[in-house]
């Protein structure tokens, strides 16, 4: 079963229940966040709007952070979540650069003794293992966060758009973005207005991995080339020595 969350931005009223529930459920210390709700202003008088969007890890199908992490501290599980092993992480912060959604955050405020870590949503890994649901979904009083299986959530999103085609933007953010994500968004306003940028449908790591795949063949060709040059240049010297004699 693929875990999934459906976020309906039009239903969010910025009560921060999800943020607080996440912090207490996962023991996120003061100053760090794994999810946060931001207000976004749009439109002009008289149609001014403020929408709120919950930002957190999208749990991509092909996560760039997992490709980036040099120590496999970030990894993809079979349920679809991207989880984090805080015993492996060396704090290089390459994941912060790789993530197209700018999700991972570093505990800047912690001293070395307090062991700073990367903070990102892990789909409440320890709660789900214990048979409980996601803290944020259970805390939301407005039904803006719905938890379920990925296919069911896609169906749900489609039927909501179908039922209110004039209200919703006809796009499920996360269905195709960067190769598909486990978090889906519905919105009544253009997604760009709530900082859900157009990141393309191609997985981010593709370009890097194509280049990476060329590395060993490239270095093999180089080695043969160097061996050839070395042989020729030394042979030439030998021949010129022979002539002198």
């Amino acid at each position: 079963m693929k875990k999934s969350l459906l976020i309906d931005i039009s239903k969010c009223l910025a009560c921060y229940s999800c943020t607080v529930a996440c912090k207490s459920a996962n023991g996120v210390t003061k100053g760090s966040f794994r999810t946060f709700v931001h207000p976004y202003e749009s439109g002009a008088y008289p149609n001014v709007r403020i929408n709120y969007a919950k930002h957190f890890c999208k749990h991509c199908k092909e996560p760039a952070c997992v490709a980036a992490c040099p120590v496999q501290a970030l990894y993809k599980t079979e349920e679809g979540s991207v989880e984090y092993n805080n015993k492996k992480c060396i704090g290089c912060r390459y994941c912060m650069y790789a993530c197209p959604f700018s999700v991972p955050l570093f505990d800047w405020h912690k001293s070395q003794i307090e062991k700073p870590l990367i903070q990102k949503c892990d789909f409440c890994a320890h709660r789900v293992d214990g048979g409980k649901g996601l803290a944020c979904a259970q805390a939301c009083p407005y039904g803006a966060i719905m938890e379920g299986e990925l296919d069911k959530m896609l169906e749900e999103a489609r039927s909501r758009i179908q039922n209110r085609p004039d209200f919703y933007i006809d796009h499920i953010y996360g269905e195709k973005e960067v190769g598909g994500t486990s978090v889906l968004y519905l919105s009544s306003r253009p997604f760009g207005e709530v900082a859900l940028a157009d990141v393309g449908a191609k997985p981010v790591a593709t370009r890097s991995e194509t280049s990476m795949a060329g590395m060993l063949p490239g270095v093999t060709i180089l080695a043969l080339f160097l061996a050839g040059i070395r042989w020729v240049s030394h042979r030439r010297e030998e021949l010129s020595k022979g002539k002198e004699e």
Partner: protein, 442 residues
């Protein structure tokens, strides 16, 4: 080795020592108090001055692998006297790089995880491993000077036997990580200004590092020989200068073709800060030194060579800063300029490296050793066997899980190094002799 009459830490060296010590104190504070308290790094700019310095230091230290290739692969023996000072500078450059990386890590206490949990899909894995392995290789490349000074015959024999293997490994690891450094930025396509955000970043980093390496050979030799008041015949650099023309020319053409291929050529003249910086990089950093190195007058003049080399290094440093900072769109709205502690730790590190170079050059046979590094030949057959074994192990591991394939990469590279060394110089001659013998016997 030089006259020891001069006091050790007087004048400029005294200042360097003070700076080094202050830098060390600040570094220790950083390693206890954490990144937030001692740096201006933030969630918009998670990497700062230490990573930027590493991005320059690594291509600046490319002199080491370039000179090894020039002397031992291209067999240009006239450059032998420059081998040791430039390799030593490379060793210190890489040690400094590792030091800055350690300071920059969020969890320096867990740095060794890089060698336990491997992710061969990550350019960061490749950079971290290559840097560590290559620093080790540079230590081995420096060891002949140590063996000579303390007359360690056994070590000397081992080094002459495996010298060419060590050197080949150094060249391969260098080309790998110089390009991987550019590869790092491939994972952030939307964040880098289109003028630099090319699919060929890895190749650009490699080619420009060779240009930088050639220039660093000139600069480091000039500085080291001057510091110890030795005479250096600048006419010897004309070959290096000519090679630079080719490398810079190739780099320049590649950059232009890449821009046109990506339909971004028009943005060169868009008038933004980035486009101006790009133009400076292309003209002062590439075209100007290219023209200078191409002119015979400059090639024969000391100051001309040095200035051209300085322009290349400047262009290189600007290129790396442009990609990592000026042309970089922060991850979230933020600004970054280094905190004073970041500056002091950085300058302290650089001062320390210069000082250590001076001390080693003073007490070890580094300068004026023209006969250094003769390698034993006639190991062809046994080296070939080792090469094939290592390559086979590497390929087999490649097919297993990510962890083992990560180790496989480095075993494969070791195999390639033995392969380069196994192509013996006398091989052709011996083969002819063997054929002749066979004929005679018949």
């Amino acid at each position: 080795m030089v006259a020891k009459s001069e006091p050790l830490f007087s004048g400029i060296r005294g200042f360097l020592l003070a700076l080094t010590l202050v830098g060390l104190v600040v570094a220790v504070i950083r390693l206890i108090a954490g990144l937030g308290a001692t740096t201006n790094l933030n969630s918009g700019y998670p990497w700062g001055i230490w990573v930027f310095f590493d991005l320059f230091l690594i291509p600046f230290s490319a002199g080491a692998f370039t000179i090894s290739a020039v002397v031992h692969i291209f067999n240009q023996k006239q450059y032998k006297p420059l081998l040791r000072p430039v390799v030593l500078a490379g060793l210190l450059g890489y040690s400094l790089t590792l030091w800055f990386l350690l300071l920059d890590l969020g969890r320096p206490d867990l740095f060794y995880n890089v060698f336990i949990y491997l992710n061969p899909r990550s350019f960061m894995f490749e950079v971290a491993w290559c840097l560590s392995l290559y620093t080790g290789v540079l230590v081995l490349e420096f060891l002949p000077a140590y063996a000579e000074k303390y007359n360690r015959k056994g070590l000397q024999r081992g080094l002459t036997t495996f010298g060419i293997v060590i050197l080949s490994a150094g060249i391969l690891l260098s080309t790998m990580h110089q390009s991987s450094l550019g590869g790092l930025f491939l994972l952030m396509p939307g964040r880098i200004h289109p003028l630099w955000s090319s699919d060929l970043l890895a190749l650009f980093f490699l080619v420009s590092s060779v240009a930088g390496g050639l220039s660093m050979i000139i600069l480091i030799s000039a500085w080291a020989f001057r510091a110890f008041k030795h005479h250096l015949d600048y006419r010897m650099f004309s070959g290096i200068a000519r090679a630079s023309v080719w490398v810079l020319g190739f780099y320049f053409i590649m950059k232009i073709v890449d821009l046109m291929g990506r339909h971004t050529f028009g943005r060169v003249f868009e008038g933004s800060i980035q486009s101006v910086l790009f133009l400076i990089e292309m003209t002062i950093g590439i075209l100007l030194p290219l023209i200078m190195f191409a002119s015979q007058g400059v090639r024969e003049s000391k100051s001309g060579l040095i200035w051209a080399a300085i322009f290349v290094s400047f262009g290189l440093a600007l290129n790396r800063t442009n990609i990592a900072f000026y042309g970089f769109d922060p991850i979230r709205v933020a600004t970054y300029s280094p905190y004073w502690m970041e500056w002091i730790a950085t300058l302290g590190g650089v001062a320390g490296a210069i000082l250590i170079f001076y001390l080693i050059a003073r007490y070890f046979p580094i300068l004026l050793v023209p006969e250094a590094e003769e390698f034993a030949e006639a190991r062809g057959a046994s080296f070939t066997a080792v090469a094939i074994t290592l390559l086979a192990i590497g390929i087999i591991l490649e097919g297993t899980n990510p962890l083992w394939s990560g180790y496989g990469v480095w075993i494969f590279v070791a195999g390639l190094s033995f392969l380069i060394a196994s192509l013996e110089i006398g091989a052709g001659k011996k083969m002819m002799k063997g054929l002749q013998n066979a004929k005679n016997n018949n």
